[in-house]
């Protein structure tokens, strides 16, 4: 920037550093209000979960008359512990499966191109835009005929499939970034592709795998539609499906429902609190997903 416009500007520099028209205080205030709006439902949820029903109906926002921990106990009586376990199994299984499927595929796209491999990759990535509601009916019919409704494997496979396009896309981008010399050296040593994948690629894309795992886990943990349809028995529900139906059943006992919601939000909030940086990069990568 050798020719800054200042060269042809007539005015003295002193007045060119104009102060913010919208002062810093106002900006801070806007950010503060936005933060309150962002956090309010969470605060409301916790605030409601620790009081009893009468207290809530009397004044939803006021100070709780007594702290009432029973709601959490009742939420656990309503199977919520079981749902947490189910969600963990489904999320873990789906994340593991999609990782195992997408990493070798991405390696093949980058290192073993064949005729039409570009087209195939584009097709895979394109699948990202197809909403799950489209696949849901035939999948449900298929899983019914296979007798897999109410079994976790149906949901795990469905989640893995839905997470696959983004996962393979992201892994291709990362594996492409590995310098060629590393492969060449391994080839000279006589390593097979499987060996290279396992000993060179996987360690090098390790951080990316963590990010990918977080994006996928966040998505799977929070998914509702497929869980509601595929897991219909009370004891096989995931947390989100269980909560949605718990809310439908207990329209009056709002503190109980809020206790359930609080329990379900806590694991993710803790993760967010302690792993904010990883979460951020995960969100950023996940941006392409939705």
């Amino acid at each position: 920037m050798s020719q800054r416009p200042i060269a042809n500007s007539q005015q003295p520099i002193a007045i060119t550093h104009r102060p913010w028209r919208l002062g810093a205080v106002v900006q801070q205030a806007i950010l503060g209000v936005a933060s309150i709006v962002a956090l309010f439902p969470l605060w409301f949820m916790i605030w409601t979960a620790i009081r009893d029903q009468n207290d809530y109906f009397h004044s939803p926002l006021g100070w709780p008359r007594t702290i009432h921990w029973d709601n959490f106990a009742h939420a656990f009586e309503a199977n919520i512990g079981r749902w947490v376990l189910n969600s963990t199994i489904v999320t873990g299984g789906a994340v593991l499966l999609v990782t195992l499927v997408s990493v070798p595929a991405a390696y093949a796209f980058v290192r073993l191109p064949f005729r039409g491999s570009d087209l195939l990759l584009r097709l895979f990535v394109f699948l990202m835009v197809i909403p799950p509601i489209v696949m849901l009916l035939p999948l449900f019919a298929l899983m019914t005929s296979l007798g897999r409704v109410n079994h976790f494997d149906s949901v795990i496979v469905a989640y893995a499939g839905l997470m696959f396009p983004f996962s393979v896309f992201m892994m291709v981008r990362y594996i492409e970034g590995i310098p060629n010399e590393l492969y060449e050296a391994a080839f000279v040593e006589g390593a097979s592709h499987l060996r290279i994948l396992w000993s060179i690629v996987v360690p090098l894309v390790g951080p990316a795998l963590v990010t990918l795992g977080i994006v996928n886990a966040l998505w799977a943990w929070n998914e509702l539609l497929i869980a509601v349809v595929m897991l219909q028995r009370e004891e096989s529900r995931t947390l989100q499906a269980g909560l949605a139906l718990l809310k439908g059943k207990n329209t009056m006992d709002i503190p109980l429902v809020m206790a359930g919601a609080t329990i379900s939000a806590i694991p993710l909030l803790l993760l967010y609190l302690f792993g904010q940086r990883v979460f951020m990069s995960g969100l950023l990568a996940g941006a392409v997903k939705e």
């Binding site: 962002a38 499927v101 009916l137 060629n180 509702l224 809310k247 990568a285």
Partner: protein, 361 residues
């Protein structure tokens, strides 16, 4: 990234050369910009090594994904279209051609749900405006940004189900929002937010904005950090106010990411609203908040009209693909234009600052 492509053809056989070049062009995928950590420079060179048996390796590595995609995408789409052309009567299946589509398109409820999705589109510009404003504020208030960022991203961490549950309790007639309005002297704004058919859809839209704007903040913040600050400073030195400088210099540079966010948001409000409406209103009151995906869900799983639902789902599929195709065409046209005025942004920034400068002098 040019050099390797020019060098390698000398070494490679003709057939492989085509492949390397082709792959290099192919790697600039349409959705590509937002993933961090990959450098373009390292991408030019790609496996020139094609020993015997690589085909088998490729097949073995791709087989699981082909099975998965076949099972979760290809078969269901095929089966869906088939289903939409038949009418099941007990165990009997009758071919009825496009009848299910005609029924869907003449079903007032389906039309209502599509109309509702279209109404929800007004969320998109609002989300963009809010996200842009907050991202710019975070960018300006650098010192305190981390703490605000931490708070502002929370809506995206909590699931739609959980926040939907919280909102549906807050938005009742005697709920927290109305009490809050009373408390700050805005009692005249009291509404039955989710119970009044006139405003229920807008309330749902508000919740969608509350959550989905976060994605915009994330994307825009990341893009802002990659921009060069020089043009901005130049404009400021020239006497532009900061907002003016942002408007004329920062904004044009963010066109690409705004476009990307706009597309994802359009898709979200068009075909991903199920979780919001299912948890908060289940389509009510009346059918005021019925959306296309909830319509499909209810037809398929509560009134057992599988074939009608399949037809509606096919329409949704076509709509989703159309949105992406149109966006892709617009994006291509846009980038061609941007390419033409590649040097334009700096020039625009300067002339804008000059304009402002001359006005203040």
């Amino acid at each position: 990234m040019d050099t390797p492509i020019r060098v390698w053809p000398l070494i490679l056989r003709q057939k492989d050369r085509c492949r390397v070049v082709a792959r290099d062009q192919g790697s600039s995928l349409a959705l590509g910009q937002a993933v961090p950590g990959t450098s373009d420079a390292s991408r030019g060179l790609r496996s020139p090594r094609r020993g015997r048996g690589n085909g088998w390796y490729a097949l073995a590595f791709l087989l699981p994904s082909l099975v998965l995609v076949g099972l979760i995408f290809i078969y269901p789409v095929y089966s869906l279209i088939r289903m939409s052309l038949y009418q099941s009567l007990g165990s009997l299946s009758l071919y009825v051609g496009l009848d299910n589509y005609l029924v869907a398109l003449n079903d007032p409820l389906f039309l209502t749900s599509v109309r509702n999705n279209l109404v929800l589109m007004i969320c998109v510009p609002i989300m963009i405006a809010i996200a842009l404003a907050l991202a710019l504020l975070l960018f300006e208030q650098r010192k305190s940004a981390p703490i605000y960022r931490f708070f502002l991203f929370v809506p995206y961490i909590i699931s739609i189900t959980v926040s939907g549950i919280a909102f549906s309790a807050m938005l009742t007639k005697n709920g927290a929002l109305n009490q809050l309005l009373e408390a700050v002297g805005l009692g005249f704004l009291r509404q039955d937010w989710l119970g009044d058919p006139k405003i229920a859809l807008l309330s749902v839209g508000g919740v969608i904005i509350w959550r989905e704007a976060v994605l915009g903040i994330v994307l825009f913040s990341a893009r802002l950090l990659t921009l060069s600050t020089e043009p901005l400073e130049a404009a400021m030195v020239d006497g532009a106010t900061r907002w003016r400088a942002h408007w004329n210099i920062t904004l044009p540079q963010m066109r690409g990411i705004i476009g990307f966010y706009a597309i994802t948001s359009v898709i979200t409000v068009a075909v991903w609203t199920f979780s919001y409406v299912f948890v908060m209103t289940n389509g009510g009151p009346g059918n005021a908040t019925m959306t296309a995906d909830l319509y499909i869900y209810q037809n398929a799983f509560t009134v057992a009209q599988m074939n009608l639902a399949a037809a509606a789902a096919t329409i949704v599929l076509v709509a989703a693909i159309a949105v992406v195709a149109i966006a892709g065409l617009l994006g291509r046209a846009g980038s061609r234009q941007a390419g033409k005025s590649a040097t334009g942004s700096r020039r625009a920034g300067k002339s804008a600052s000059r304009q402002v400068g001359s006005r203040t002098s």
